[in-house]
Amino acid sequence: MVEERLTYVNTHAKLNVQLSTDVLSEVEAVAQERGIRSGLEAAQNAILGRYRDKMANVASPSNQLAVDPRLESFVLYLMKNQCQEAVLLLAILEQLALPGLDLAGGQGVALVVKEAVSDLKKARSNPNFAGCVRELSQWHQAYHAFRLSAGLFVRGVDAFKSDRFEEALDLFTESYRLSVRITENPPTVRFN
């Protein structure tokens, strides 16, 4: 089984823990009425729908927000990079399988999260899904570098505003190098 020990799966899943919790609460009734499998699919589709709505809002010409949606969510970052739906759904599965999420609601929520964990393990050990798993793993690495680059930029601006110019220069330089590294080394595996 392919284990996700050294990647950033949980770190990135945590960014949207509130959304995951909200959606799991919403689908708990579905899980109880129509079964755990239906509950999990409803959760995945609901989260995917919310992210698609978010992307549509961001793309709207009237949107003047400086917030970069890619920094809000790993899945939004994948969407901006035109990843296939299978990759998006696997990322959402990771989000729903986040350790501790099973304690975020009642029995139905716990069972849906357990099902997500089980599905994730199956996907990672399924040879037919290996390309998708590898691509997602590479995107996690890229997203980590992307967030670091943005974080160093934020630190650099803070240093610049405080007249710590040498520190700011150091941080901007590192931010730029990371940016270039991501661009020059994008994920090479593409799941179709």
Partner: protein, 178 residues
């Protein structure tokens, strides 16, 4: 890749930082530390900007058609020229005649990397061990959680405080599309 805003900020920081480093050299401060500052801070930034200047010169027509990009390109060229001229100024009298031997040797080394900064990938001696490189390993949990908001605030605050050296940003992403 949308790195224009980041380059603007990098240009401003380089201009300011170089003035400070040049001043330290003029005041006769620890030459070794000044040399380290040039090698670890000024030269890597110059290397990035020089690469962009070289790239821009190959696509001059495209850049000329984009006002914002042309502005960034011009700022980049101006800052690089300014930094170099500030170091080259030491070559003329009376500075060059008054420099102690150690400082004169250091100046020669520094001029070499300032005038011809090696490409980062081709210059192991410029592999960085600075605070930025070390901090680049990870963000704190608090930084990670607040990153989207802090990034937006950073972009907004820099736009509000725009200086002549890096005028208005377009509010687009600092980091690339990937």
């Amino acid at each position: 890749m949308r790195t224009g805003p980041l380059i603007r900020y990098l240009c401003s920081a380089l201009g300011e930082a170089n003035v400070a480093v040049v001043k330290r050299f003029k005041l006769g401060e620890n030459v070794g530390e000044v040399r380290q500052a040039v090698y670890n801070l000024v030269a890597p930034a110059l290397s990035i900007l020089q690469e962009r200047i070289n790239r821009d010169s190959r696509r001059a027509e495209t850049i000329a058609a984009d006002t914002a990009e042309a502005e960034v390109s011009q700022t980049t060229t101006d800052v690089v020229e300014t930094v170099r001229s500030q170091w080259c100024a030491f070559l003329g009298p009376p500075d060059i005649d008054e420099l102690p031997r150690e400082a004169a040797d250091a100046l020669q080394d520094m001029l070499t990397v300032v005038l011809e900064p090696p490409s980062p990938s081709a210059s192991p001696h410029l592999s960085r061990s600075t605070a930025g490189a070390r901090m680049g390993e990870r963000l704190t949990q608090q930084e990670d959680v607040r990153l989207a908001e802090d990034y937006a605030a950073a972009v907004s605050s820099m736009k509000a405080a725009s200086s002549p050296s890096f005028s208005e940003t377009k509010g687009d992403a600092v980091v690339p599309a990937s």
